[in-house]
Symmetry: C2
Subunit: 109 residues, 2 copies
């Protein structure tokens, strides 16, 4: 598709948003935040999706740096990646708070 030139910050933000842009992935992150031990199978049980699909969503989150998982082939254990999570949190937070309330009258009314 050859995405044209955007700021790297704009691209980063969009990528982060894309990782969050599916209810299943939001749900997975919520599960990981509540539990301590997070085997893939446990997560599959919590979601109304097939194992292959969950595995795919986990990969998206991992590629986005939001979670980390051991490569133990017996039972894959996932958890929030603290560094990635903090980075994402700050990235988003900065962006939103860059803009403060419009206060005055809007331009198009």
């Amino acid at each position: 598709m050859e995405t044209p030139p955007f700021t790297s910050k704009q691209t980063e933000l969009a990528c982060l948003a894309k990782a969050l842009a599916h209810p299943a992935r939001i749900a997975i992150l919520e599960v990981l935040r509540q539990r301590q031990a997070c085997y893939c199978g446990d997560i599959v049980e919590e979601l109304p999706l097939a194992q292959a699909t969950v595995s795919q969503h986990l990969k998206v989150l991992k590629d986005a740096g939001l979670i980390q998982g051991t490569i133990d082939p017996r039972r894959s254990c996932y958890c929030i990646d603290p560094e990635g999570w903090a980075r994402a949190h700050q990235l988003l937070g900065d962006w939103w708070t860059d803009y403060e309330a419009p206060a005055g009258p809007r331009c198009c009314e």
Copy 2:
């Protein structure tokens, strides 16, 4: 695709994230935050995209409630929707801060 049952909050968050999941839309929001008068043509000039494409992205943002535009057919004027923006900001903020630092040792190490 028949998306299976997720929380309405999870779905809302995912929808919001989807609206932000493209650098062009991030860029558009940034333009709208800086300028006062935001005619469609002005936005097109700022972006490396065709007018039709920009119009499409504007529609996505409008459907997400993040921006509003007058229907004046002469020159369409867009701006941030203060209510929608605040709602989105809070939705995201709440979700992120629901989870505080992991502190202790992680489960999968």
